[in-house]
Symmetry: C2
């Protein structure tokens, strides 16, 4: 385990367990260096991680403080690993509609940077939050990278399988958002009326080497759609 990762985890746990609030002060750099027996740069790197993640903010000449947004029940748009943490936090479950190998749509092929004749795993699921319909999810996985999938795997966390099972390293994602009106089929799945609002979230996930491996399109039930985003400016 990397030292700075370890320190970041420890501090985050500490904040969580002691229910520290926005503005609460953490120990100064000097103390953290001694406590974890590392150099200043390593502590700094750990704190930069936490700052990027929206957990703390640092004020030169003053100290390190806890950052905590006020609202509960919002799904993070930037949380790592495709909703992994959110899954646990919000009790999100899913029902599989389709799983097969097929040729990509033109849109999927463009986003995955493959040809129209290459194979993809196509997954369609309905996701539920606290028993309510949250969203429709359609995913296209480049089969030459994600070589195998089955119903059991996609019932659990696909991303977990990709990293643990296949040993692939997920690097970054481009995400696009649109708001539009539901068509009849989507309304049916989500238990809403045709023409009701929807939030469409398209993501292209890449490996650390830059190869796109997953193009996903999520259509959210607007009633359940509350998202948040913590930015450092």
């Amino acid at each position: 385990m990397l030292k700075y990762q370890h320190i970041a985890d420890e501090l985050e746990n500490y904040i969580e367990e002691h229910k520290l609030q926005q503005g609460d002060k953490l120990p100064i750099l000097q103390d953290l260096m001694i406590q974890f027996d590392v150099s200043k740069s390593t502590v700094t790197k750990a704190l930069d991680l936490l700052e990027k993640k929206g957990v703390v903010f640092q004020v030169r000449g003053s100290g390190i403080f806890v950052r905590r947004h006020k609202r509960q029940g919002y799904i993070s748009l930037t949380s790592n690993q495709g909703f992994k943490k959110n899954l646990e936090e919000f009790h999100i479950t899913s029902e599989i509609i389709t799983l097969d190998i097929r040729k990509p749509t033109k849109e999927a092929a463009v986003n995955l940077n493959i040809g129209l004749d290459d194979d993809v795993y196509y997954v369609k699921r309905i996701r539920y939050i606290h028993g309510q319909t949250l969203c429709i999810e359609e995913s296209y996985f480049n089969k030459s990278i994600v070589t195998y999938l089955n119903k059991e795997i996609i019932t659990e966390s696909i991303f977990n399988y990709i990293t643990e099972g296949l040993g692939l390293n997920i690097g970054f994602a481009d995400t696009y958002l649109h708001v539009d009106k539901l068509n009849a089929e989507e309304a049916e799945y989500l238990g809403l009326q045709k023409g009701d609002p929807k939030l469409e979230v398209e993501s292209v996930f890449h490996l650390t080497n830059g190869q796109p491996f997953d193009f996903s399109k999520l259509t959210y039930n607007y009633v359940q759609s509350q998202f948040f985003l913590q930015a450092v400016l």
Copy 2:
């Protein structure tokens, strides 16, 4: 100017000017160290900045590569300084509806962490993109921090004035997104029908010392609403 900031700017300009594409390789660390006459850590810090910003991705054992998302015409949800760059890129203009000093709504008071009897500057604007209505914007500024505003200032960039004119340092923002249906008044402003979809974006902006100074609520025309987000996982 900080060295790592300078290097980051130079590299970003280079990528822009030479129209480098996704996957194009940049010089190796060693060369960048020599070129800019700085230590390895400084180059690394510059590259980490660019990576966070979604401009490059680094692959251990291989090199540093340009990252570039495929779609044009999307507004960045994470671009710095309240849309400053987007303003230029998309020719966003605004029309002022209201500017006055008043008491905050309960909601604004909670988000700004002030009392119901404290003063705020209230600003209501309509924003246009390429001449089309983009969104309705309502902002509440804590008057004890943002001590003065006038029509001229809010016609230009408010955030620019806050940093340059008032010498304040903007630190971070919490942003919340909802999708809902337009009410009659909003529909009127946006030139849409009541019941049409809307995207509501609420942001709380904080100074570097953690004090919230601006609570803004933006209601977007769903037709014009295309956002993107570059995440590092």
